[in-house]
């Protein structure tokens, strides 16, 4: 009871001390359901509205400063104002917008990434990790002529590819089957049960949203072996995990998927950038 009372006091103080965030949230609710567009950033009674960021510090619209330990949910590798990144963005802006042609930097970036990740032979860019995973799955479905996709319980591969608590009504209506992460025997049985229809196995080598649970090397090795055996496309979602080694977790484990999706860290969230990449046939 004492704790609950303390929590109420803190909530009241929070509301009292953040009038500008509160006002902005109320205004936002008129035009956006729930007053936000990225649910993960929301908390009750209203989230802090951030005015600016510098290095590892954030300032809210009520003037409070915070040490940023969220790091843009793993994407903000270089903080909020890295001079090298800021200068590169200025240079791009100064060169003019919407140029309707291949730009001068994309192939160089593609080369850097391909040289770094063993599974990347060629890649396409897109705008977010969610989009990269959608493109990867659609490519696998098209290439195999099969429809089914094996994913893992509690995995998160994007706002429309969420598998915690039995999935989400906002998920894309693909033919998903789920197995339990790191459970070698039951996952192998799932592959075997669906192998004739299985287009892809989509897995994060470290289950991020479920609390950063690393895959057992033997579990990933089994997925590699089973995918090869039944002709399904093994996709590693390294949107979050690419930051964990120079070749992401695939380099750490030495296990090479057929396709890799990247996002977040490769752009360090300066601008949207993601891609799906694949090995040749």
């Amino acid at each position: 009871m004492k704790a609950a009372g303390r929590l109420d006091d803190l909530r009241e103080a929070y509301v009292r001390n953040h009038p500008e965030s509160c006002a902005r949230h109320e205004r936002a609710q008129a035009w956006m359901p729930g007053g936000n567009t990225r649910s993960v950033l929301h908390f009750d009674p209203f989230p802090l509205v951030i005015a600016s960021g510098r290095a590892d510090m954030l300032t809210d619209v009520d003037g409070y400063e915070y040490i940023d330990c969220a790091g843009e949910f793993s994407a903000g590798l270089y903080g909020h104002s890295d001079p090298v990144i800021v200068a590169a963005l200025h240079e791009v802006l100064d060169n003019g917008l919407v140029l309707s042609g291949p730009n001068t930097a994309e192939s160089e970036l593609a080369e850097l990434l391909c040289r770094r990740f063993p599974s990347l032979e060629r890649l396409r860019f897109c705008n977010s990790g969610t989009e990269a995973n959608l493109f990867a799955l659609l490519t696998a479905i098209d290439a195999t002529g099969r429809k089914r996709v094996l994913v893992f319980e509690d995995a998160y591969h994007g706002g429309v590819l969420t598998f915690a608590g039995g999935g989400s009504p906002m998920n894309v209506p693909f033919d998903f089957v789920t197995a339990s992460f790191n459970d070698i025997e039951s996952a192998r049985a799932s592959v075997k049960r669906h192998e004739d229809d299985l287009a892809a196995i989509l897995v994060e080598p470290l289950l991020g949203a479920a609390g950063n649970i690393p895959a057992e090397a033997a579990f990933l090795a089994m997925l590699r072996e089973e995918a090869t055996r039944c002709g399904a496309v093994l996709i590693f979602d390294e949107v979050k995990t690419s930051r964990l080694g120079r070749a992401g977790l695939q380099g750490h484990y030495g296990i090479v998927p057929d396709m890799t999706t990247l996002g977040k860290n490769i752009s360090a969230r300066a601008c949207p950038l993601a891609h799906s990449a694949a090995r040749g046939p």
């Binding site: 990740f117 063993p118 090397a217 090795a221 120079r246 070749a247 380099g251 030495g254 296990i255 090479v256």
Partner: protein
């Protein structure tokens, strides 16, 4: 002025005056935290121990020395029985000596004698690994793969075939698992045996975790040593495992190779065996070698003056009993995990720390100029020497070395504290190490 020809002719190192546990005091009263067991993974139960003191004094009052061609002794017999009692089945006889180099000489000579006794005198070649170190005597140096340590003596050495070490940090490709890499590295042994002709090869010698001084505790990856064992069996080549530095409980196993699930034909142990209280080494041999000698000439062709020295054996026996009484093999595993966790937290993201590796309380930290490319520092900067000096200034004993990669370039730091190091001492080691490393790097700027 010193009458000793010191390691560096222009410098006399500080004189050690007293030591207790992990703390060493010099003659000026300066105290050092010993993170490397007397300097080279030797003082495995720390400095000073009442049980060892009592055992030495008891034996001193009885008898210290009698040559092995006249007598055996109770402590020598007891120590040999104790060691084989802790070793896997098959390793059943012990030959004593006074240190690691002598243990390796003994191993090489036993391997040679085995083949002559077996009627295959054509088997005389030894295969070893680059970047290995098995000792300073000429035979041990001949099978050592560390170029700078051999170069001066090259005309005096016999020729050994050198293959690649198991060095996952630099040699594993990012598209192969550790196990696949281990199999690839082990395949070099088979290639070498076939190149030389199996009928000419006596033995392969390797360290399960490569000596801290040369390759900075690079451990055999999963599957490597069992593949090596299988290759040796396929061609009848003896497997000598050198546990001088990594053995005697340091990796959290009594013998490091137990973790790899293999049993060698010959094992060398030293350093932690006598715990620094006495110079001590031993070579353990498998039944098949002892039996071949017994069935053949019936005589060991090799001997040293101080083989089975009664006083040294009594001290080593007391050390090994202390290791078991105090549960220090299990402690090394637990403390090793704790120390690794602290090092990862403190240095894991350090821009000049490329790799933290090893097993148990035998840990190597490889320093790099660039983590992305793994490029080493300029060898001319002698970073390892600067780090050592900086650590001594911060009251910390560590064992940095250079030439990690190929004998020339590369720097690493070896940590091998006593198996009974307390958690607060490990934390202090990590704190002093971080300060020493940053101070050393500052001077390179």
């Amino acid at each position: 002025m010193s009458a000793i020809l010191h390691r560096k002719t222009d410098t006399v190192p500080p004189a050690v005056a007293q030591a207790d546990g992990l703390w060493v005091t010099d003659s000026d009263g300066r105290r050092y935290l010993d993170a490397v067991s007397g300097g080279a993974a030797v003082s495995a139960i720390g400095h000073r121990d009442e049980r060892v003191r009592d055992a030495i004094l008891r034996q001193f009052d009885a008898v210290s020395y009698a040559h092995g061609s006249f007598f055996t002794s109770e402590p020598a017999e007891e120590l040999a029985a104790y060691l084989v009692g802790k070793a896997p089945a098959g390793l059943s006889k012990v030959v004593f000596c006074s240190g690691g180099s002598e243990a390796v000489e003994t191993a090489l000579k036993l391997a040679r004698q085995y083949w002559v006794e077996r009627g295959e005198p054509g088997r005389g070649k030894i295969i070893a690994r680059r970047q290995s170190y098995h000792g300073a005597t000429l035979g041990a140096l001949s099978v050592g793969g560390n170029l700078p340590r051999r170069a001066l003596y090259e005309p005096l050495l016999f020729e050994a075939e050198l293959i690649a070490p198991c060095y996952a940090y630099r040699e594993r490709r990012e598209d192969e698992t550790e196990r696949d890499y281990g199999l690839r590295a082990a395949a070099e042994l088979e290639d070498a045996i076939l190149r030389l002709g199996p009928e000419t090869v006596a033995a392969f010698i390797a360290e399960p975790v490569v000596v801290g001084a040369t390759l900075g505790c690079a451990p055999a990856v999963d599957g490597y040593l069992s593949e090596v064992r299988a290759i040796c069996d396929r061609y009848g080549v003896l497997l000598i495992l050198d546990e001088i530095m990594c053995g005697s409980g340091r990796t959290g196993y009594r013998f490091a190779f137990e973790e790899d699930g293999v049993v060698p034909d010959i094992v060398t142990v030293a350093k932690g065996l006598g715990g620094g209280f006495v110079p001590m080494g031993a070579t353990l041999v498998h039944d098949r070698i002892a039996d071949a000698i017994a069935a053949g000439s019936g005589a060991l062709a090799h001997g040293f003056t101080y083989m089975g020295h009664a006083l040294a054996c009594a001290a080593a026996l007391a050390v090994q009993r202390a290791v078991d009484e105090d549960g220090l093999v299990a402690a090394a595993a637990a403390s090793g995990t704790a120390l690794r966790r602290m090092l990862e937290a403190s240095l894991g993201q350090h821009r000049h720390v490329g790799d933290i590796r090893g097993r148990g309380l035998f840990i190597g930290i490889e320093l790099v100029a660039d983590r992305e490319t793994k490029a080493p520092f300029d060898p001319a900067a002698k970073l390892h020497a600067v780090v050592k000096a900086s650590a001594m200034e911060n009251g910390l004993m560590i064992y940095p070395s250079g030439g990690t990669i190929d004998g020339r370039a590369g720097d690493h730091i070896l940590l091998a504290p006593a198996l009974n190091a307390r958690e607060d001492e490990l934390a202090e080691i990590v704190a002093r190490l971080g300060r020493s490393l940053d101070a050393a790097l500052e001077t390179l700027k």
